[in-house]
C-alpha cells in the first residue's frame, strides 16, 4: 500500500511533495520502459525464430497504432474495457479484496443491459442508455454481492467464489442467447441493437462514450480515495483492518458494499462492450478481458494514473498485434506472448504490493 499512498498524494498539506512525486514518477517511467524493452527483446527472439524480422514487425506495429489517427483511435477502443475492468479490481483491492471475478461480473452486466436493450427497444436513447447503464451495473453488482457477503461473514474467501462464478456467468449468457434472444439468422448472437441502444461514437471512429465514462470514473476514484470521508475510511480498512475495526469503522459493511461497487463497475464494462463495441450480445464475447483488468490493476498497484498508462501500453500491444496477423501471417494470439513477456518482466521484480502478502485463498477471512 505504501506505493499507492505515495503516488496518490495524501493530504500532506504544505509539504514539498510535488518534486518528490515527479522524481518517483520519472523513475517509474524509466524502469517500466526498460522492462518493456526487455520484453520486446525476448519477443524479438521468438519472431526471429519463426522467420520474421523483428525490427520490421515492431516498426509496423508502431506506425499502425501510434502513427495514424485511425490507429490511435483503435488503441483507445482497445483500451476502454481494460480501464474499466482494471478499476473494478482496483477499488476492492483498496480493502484487500481480491476481485478475480470481473470476467463474470462483466458477462452479467452485458446480459442485464442486453435485456434492457431488447425489451425497451422503442424508448428514446436518452432514456434507454441510462437504463442500460443501470441494468449493467446492477447485473455486475448482483454477481459480486455473494462473494462480498460470504467474505464479510468470514465464510468463504472472495477469491474462490469470484473465480467459480466466472465460469457460471458466460453459461447464463449462453442460456439466454440460445434460448430466447438469438436473432433469426444466428443462434449464437442477438440481433443488432436498435441505434437508441448504442453508445454514441466520436468523430466517425469506433471510440465511444464509454471511454469518457471510464476516464471520469478513474478521476472519481482518485478523488474519492484522496478527499472524501469514505476514501479515508477505506484506506484505513485496507491499511490495518483490525485497527479500523477497533476505531469503530463498519468494516463488514464496507467489504460488501465495495465489492458490489466493484462488480457494478465491471458490469458497466460489460454494458459498454455490448452497447458500444459490438452493438449486440455475442456468445462468449469476452476472452479474458476481466483477467486482463486484474493484471493491469495489479501491475499498477491499483493507482489510477498507473492504470491509464498500463492500459495504454497493453492496448498498443494488442492493436499492433492485429497487424502481425495481417502482414506477417502469424496468428493473432501470438501477440499474447509479447504481452506475457511484458508481464513476466514486471512480475519478476521484487514486489512490495500488499496484495502479495495475502494468501490467494489460503487465509481464513476474519470478519
Amino acid at each position: 500500500m505504501s506505493r499507492t499512498n505515495a503516488i496518490i498524494p495524501s493530504l500532506t498539506q504544505g509539504k514539498p511533495r510535488l518534486a518528490a512525486f515527479g522524481q518517483r514518477f520519472l523513475n517509474g517511467v524509466i524502469r517500466y520502459t526498460l522492462m518493456i524493452l526487455l520484453a520486446l527483446l525476448l519477443f524479438g527472439a521468438i519472431l526471429l525464430i519463426s522467420g520474421r524480422n523483428p525490427l520490421h514487425s515492431y516498426r509496423d506495429m508502431l506506425t499502425s497504432t501510434l502513427g495514424s489517427a485511425y490507429g490511435f483511435s483503435e488503441v483507445l477502443v482497445a483500451m476502454t474495457p481494460m480501464l474499466i475492468t482494471a478499476l473494478a479490481v482496483a477499488l476492492p483491492s483498496r480493502l484487500i479484496l481480491i476481485n478475480v471475478g470481473v470476467e463474470g461480473q462483466l458477462y452479467m452486466g452485458a446480459c442485464f443491459a442486453t435485456w434492457g436493450a431488447l425489451t425497451f427497444r422503442d424508448w428514446p436513447a436518452w432514456c434507454l442508455l441510462p437504463l442500460m447503464v443501470l441494468l449493467g451495473m446492477a447485473g455486475g453488482a448482483l454477481w459480486a454481492f455473494m462473494p462480498g457477503y460470504l467474505r464479510a461473514r468470514g465464510i468463504v474467501n472472495e477469491t474462490i467464489t469470484t473465480l467459480l462464478l466466472n465460469s457460471v456467468a458466460p453459461k447464463v449468457v449462453s442460456f439466454f442467447i440460445f434460448g430466447f434472444w438469438h436473432s433469426p439468422m444466428d443462434t449464437d448472437k442477438t440481433a443488432s441493437f436498435v441505434p437508441a441502444a448504442r453508445l454514441p461514437t466520436f468523430f466517425g471512429t469506433r471510440v465511444d462514450l464509454s471511454l469518457a465514462i471510464a476516464l471520469v470514473l478513474l478521476a472519481l476514484f482518485w478523488w474519492v480515495m484522496k478527499s472524501t470521508r469514505w476514501g479515508l475510511e477505506m484506506r484505513a480498512i485496507g491499511g490495518n483492518p483490525q485497527a479500523a475495526r477497533r476505531n469503530g469503522l463498519p468494516v463488514s459493511t464496507y467489504l460488501v458494499v465495495v465489492m458490489c461497487i466493484g462488480g457494478a463497475i465491471a458490469g458497466l464494462a460489460g454494458m459498454a462492450q455490448v452497447s458500444g463495441y459490438y452493438g449486440l450480445l455475442l456468445n462468449n464475447f469476452s476472452r479474458g478481458t476481466g483477467y486482463m483488468g486484474f493484471l493491469i490493476s495489479w501491475l499498477s498497484f491499483g493507482d489510477p494514473l498507473g492504470i491509464l498508462l498500463t492500459s495504454f501500453v497493453v492496448a498498443v500491444i494488442f492493436t499492433g498485434g492485429n497487424l502481425l496477423q495481417l502482414t506477417q501471417g502469424l496468428p493473432f494470439a501470438v501477440i499474447n506472448i509479447l504481452l506475457a513477456f511484458t508481464l513476466f518482466v514486471v512480475l519478476a521484480r521484487p514486489t512490495q504490493a500488499v496484495i502479495a502478502l495475502k494468501g490467494a485463498y489460503g487465509s481464513e477471512p476474519k470478519p
Binding site: 462464478l165 499474447n336 512480475l347 502478502l357 490467494a360
Partner: protein
C-alpha cells in the same frame, strides 16, 4: 433412446473426463505445496499444441505424449520462477502465464492446423471381446484412459504415503514448520510444480492426441479453470478428484443424453451445476469453519529473515 446411445454417451464422457482428471491431479499436487496455478489453461494449450506437433512430426503418438508432459512441466517451472524465486503474486503470475500459453500455443500449433495424426492406439477392454462390434468400438480406450485411475492412486500414494509427500504437504500448510524440520520449501515447490505440470501435460496430450486428434486455437475451452474448480470441489484430495471429474463428465454426458432424447433443458444451465455444487459445498464448509485449503496456499515464503 437406445442402449447404444446411452453407452455412446458414457463412452464420450470417459473420453472428456480423462484429460480433466489428469489436469486436476496435477493441480492437486501444486496446490498441496501452496501454489495456485491460474495459468493452467495456458499450460494445457502449450502442452496440447507441443504434443500434437511432435506426434505429427514423428508420427509417433507416444513421443507426442512425452513431449506434451515435458512442455507442461516446463511451463509450470516458469510459474515457479515467478512465484517461488521472484516471490511474485501467484494470481497475477498465473494469469500472465495463461496469456503466454495463449500466444505460444498459437505459434507452435499454427503449422499443424488441420493436420492429421495417428492418434493413440485404442485397445479393447479385456473381457469385452464377446460384445458386438458396434458396442465394442465404444469401449476401445487408449492407454492414457486406462492409466488415469492408477495415476490418481499413485498421486494419492505419493502425497500421503511417502516422505516427499509429507514434506510437500507440510510446505503447503506451513512453510515455516517445514523449514524448521530441515526441508527446503522453495525446492519442494519447484518439484511440485514440475510434477503437476507433467500431469497437466498428460491431460492436454490426451485431449489433442487421443480425443480430438487435431489442433485448434483455444481448444482446451476453459478446462484449466474447471480443473482449478475441481481441485476445490475435491477438497485437495486426489481420490476425490476422481469423483469430481466423473461429476463434470457426467454433466456433459447427461446433456448429450437429454439432447438425444429430445428433452428441452438448456445444456448451459446443466453446465453450471458442478460449479454451483462446488460453491454450495464451500459455503457449507465455511459455515462449519472447516477450511480444507492448504493453509499457506497463495502465500509467498520469505524464509526466516
Amino acid at each position: 433412446m437406445t442402449l447404444l446411445s446411452v453407452l455412446g454417451v458414457i463412452s464420450s464422457a470417459i473420453f472428456s473426463g480423462t484429460s480433466l482428471l489428469y489436469t486436476t491431479l496435477g493441480e492437486v499436487i501444486t496446490e498441496r505445496s501452496g501454489i495456485v496455478n491460474l495459468g493452467l489453461e495456458g499450460v494445457l494449450l502449450v502442452s496440447a499444441s507441443t504434443g500434437f506437433a511432435v506426434a505429427s512430426l514423428t508420427g509417433n503418438p507416444y513421443l507426442g505424449v512425452l513431449a506434451a508432459a515435458l512442455a507442461g512441466g516446463l511451463m509450470n517451472l516458469i510459474l515457479g520462477y515467478l512465484v517461488v524465486t521472484r516471490r511474485g503474486n501467484q494470481l497475477a503470475s498465473g494469469l500472465a502465464l495463461m496469456f503466454f500459453g495463449f500466444g505460444l500455443s498459437a505459434l507452435i500449433g499454427k503449422p499443424y492446423v488441420g493436420a492429421k495424426i495417428k492418434g493413440l492406439p485404442r485397445i479393447l477392454l479385456p473381457g469385452l471381446q464377446e460384445l458386438p462390434r458396434l458396442y465394442a468400438s465404444l469401449f476401445r480406450f487408449d492407454l492414457l484412459i486406462y492409466l488415469v485411475i492408477p495415476a490418481a492412486v499413485l498421486v494419492w500414494w505419493l502425497l500421503f504415503r511417502t516422505r516427499w509427500g509429507l514434506g510437500l504437504r507440510a510446505v503447503g500448510e506451513s512453510a515455516d514448520t517445514a523449514f524448521a524440520s530441515g526441508r527446503n520449501p522453495w525446492l519442494i515447490r519447484y518439484q511440485a510444480l514440475f510434477v503437476g505440470g507433467l500431469l497437466a501435460g498428460l491431460g492436454a496430450a490426451h485431449l489433442s492426441i487421443a480425443y480430438a486428434m487435431n489442433w485448434t486455437e483455444y481448444m482446451t475451452a476453459g478446462r484449466g479453470f474447471i480443473a482449478v474448480a475441481l481441485v476445490i470441489f475435491s477438497k485437495w484430495h486426489p481420490l476425490r478428484a476422481i469423483v469430481g471429474a466423473l461429476l463434470f463428465s457426467a454433466a456433459v454426458a447427461f446433456q448429450l443424453l437429454l439432447q438425444s432424447s429430445g428433452i428441452k433443458v438448456s445444456p448451459f444451465l446443466l453446465d453450471t451445476i458442478p460449479y454451483l455444487l462446488t460453491l454450495l459445498v464451500l459455503i457449507i464448509w465455511g459455515g462449519t469453519r472447516k477450511h480444507a485449503a492448504p493453509a499457506s496456499l497463495g502465500r509467498v515464503y520469505h524464509g526466516t529473515e
